[in-house]
């Protein structure tokens, strides 16, 4: 394993320490909890707090989206594991400016349980909490069972929109409803070209044979829904767009935001190669690309692969998308 590791058990603590140190102008560590990172200016009195959290190993997600006009506090779990209920609770407390807190997170068993625990604890503090659960990954369950689908890179848009809405002075219910609209308007799909390795294991979780690819792979290397021969970039792009749009069913003329995220090890130039073709196909389907995002936004350690997220836009979402942010992970 050719990696920068001390003791694998310490990697999350070291990451958080390095992160808070590097971005001291924008974030700080919670004084109560070394697994909670808080935006420099948070909490803002009278503003709805925005909280997220999730397992580590997806950097810049989750902690990289902490900062001005986006996430107020983030709770941090072990590699690929939900943060504790206590950490979600401490993040909620750190983000609370008296107007309630929106917890915007992804649909994973652990996160659901831990957020529920945190919610109960926050209720005792008298903090009003609303939740939005991202479920944008089309290949994780059929459309009819959308509540089983997992949250993937669409969460970036959910945080961007929810954070901007909160910054605009909206109420908790408005923030919740708008973040919910954002994620409802998102569909994502991932493709994996190589596995990833948890440092404690020292060898890949799973295998992808050279010359094959896993369509529908999860952000933790959960196996995909289909193993296929590795195809040229354009053919992969076509297949991903097809899966997303088939599920989306958007009327012609819809404006969309498109996010192509690398899974960690794929060179960034290849993400642009994918994007170029995806934008072609999306436009050929009668949609209009309002804005594109290409980069390593939500990764899976050193996995080779990429995700595509398409978010349908309306006037409100476009305006909120345009609000500037100042967070380490969002260029």
């Amino acid at each position: 394993m050719q990696r920068f590791i001390n003791d694998p058990d310490d990697i999350v603590d070291e990451t958080v320490r390095g992160f808070v140190r590097a971005h001291a102008d924008r974030v700080r560590l919670s004084p109560d909890n070394p697994r909670v990172v808080v935006a420099a200016g948070a909490p803002v009195q009278g503003k709805v707090g925005v909280v997220t959290g999730g397992g580590s190993g997806h950097e810049p997600a989750f902690l990289g989206y902490t900062g001005k006009n986006m996430v107020d506090a983030v709770s941090i779990g072990e590699l690929f594991s939900s943060p504790t209920g206590k950490s979600f609770h401490d993040a909620i407390r750190a983000a609370d400016g008296g107007a309630g807190v929106a917890v915007l997170y992804g649909n994973y068993a652990g996160d659901n349980m831990n957020v529920n625990l945190a919610r109960k604890m926050a209720a005792k503090d008298g903090i009003e909490v609303a939740t939005v659960i991202a479920n944008d990954d089309v290949s994780s369950a059929p459309f009819a069972e959308r509540d089983k689908r997992r949250g993937v890179a669409g969460e970036i848009f959910m945080w961007k929109i929810g954070g901007a809405k909160a910054a605009s002075g909206a109420s908790l219910e408005e923030v919740r409803a708008t973040a919910q609209k954002a994620i409802d308007n998102c569909r994502s799909v991932g493709v994996g070209l190589s596995p990833c390795t948890l440092p404690a294991a020292g060898k890949p979780n799973f295998q992808i044979e050279p010359g094959k690819m896993e369509m529908g792979i999860g952000h933790h290397g959960e196996p995909g829904v289909k193993i296929e021969d590795l195809k040229p970039a354009n053919a992969i792009a076509d297949e991903m767009v097809e899966m997303v749009l088939a599920d989306h069913g958007l009327p012609a003329g819809t404006e969309v935001a498109v996010l192509v995220s690398g899974l960690g090890a794929t060179p960034v130039n290849e993400l642009y190669v994918l994007y170029d073709r995806m934008a072609d196909r999306i436009e050929a389907a009668g949609l209009t690309v309002h804005r594109g995002y290409v980069g390593n936004y939500f990764t899976s350690l050193e996995m080779m692969g990429a995700t595509l997220t398409v978010m349908a836009l309306d006037a409100e979402l476009k305006e909120l998308l345009a609000m500037p942010t100042d967070v380490p992970g969002f260029a």
Partner: protein, 213 residues
Amino acid sequence: MTALPNAGAGALMQEVAAAVVENRAWLSELDGQIGDGDHGFNMAKGFGRAAERIGAADTLDSALNTLSEVLIGEIGGSMGPLYGMMFSDMADAVAGAEAIDAQTFGRMLHAGLDGVRAIGSADVGDKTLLDTLVPSVAAYDAALAQGGGFADALTAMTAAAETGRDSTRDMVARIGRASRLGDRSRGVLDPGATSCCLILVTLADGVARRLDG
């Protein structure tokens, strides 16, 4: 003896923790095949940390509470809340008892099961730790109801835990990370069912040895 003194059962829980730590790689390997590969590492981190804070002389409820606090407060994941609530509710069931007899142990098992059910929402057949836990508790109950002693009930529980764990191999996951796999989740033991079996079997074995001694 027909009952286990509550005081001093900390050592028993240290044995359970040691068993989890020992099986760390195997549990993560199972999870790697149908999940995300972290099960053994997080379990070992939680149980290992708890073992350092549990004294051999601790009561069972104190040891269970320590374990629960570490899992809920420091480990997270799915196991933090699931096992955390299980052990916390188990601790409540034995708190204050001088000694733990067959009936108290049974109440403890039920409390643990209820704790898991309250926080998760899985059922038998979903390929989760409930496929170990539910039949184990039922077998324990049945052995007592049929007039068996504490030791007999523990033996029955052990056998049921292993059968329950093995039953998950041919199941298709309907909940959690493995559920999207559909048929591809077949053929691998469920990691949670496997760790749950390990916990129950080590517990039963430790109690039985102490009853003998």
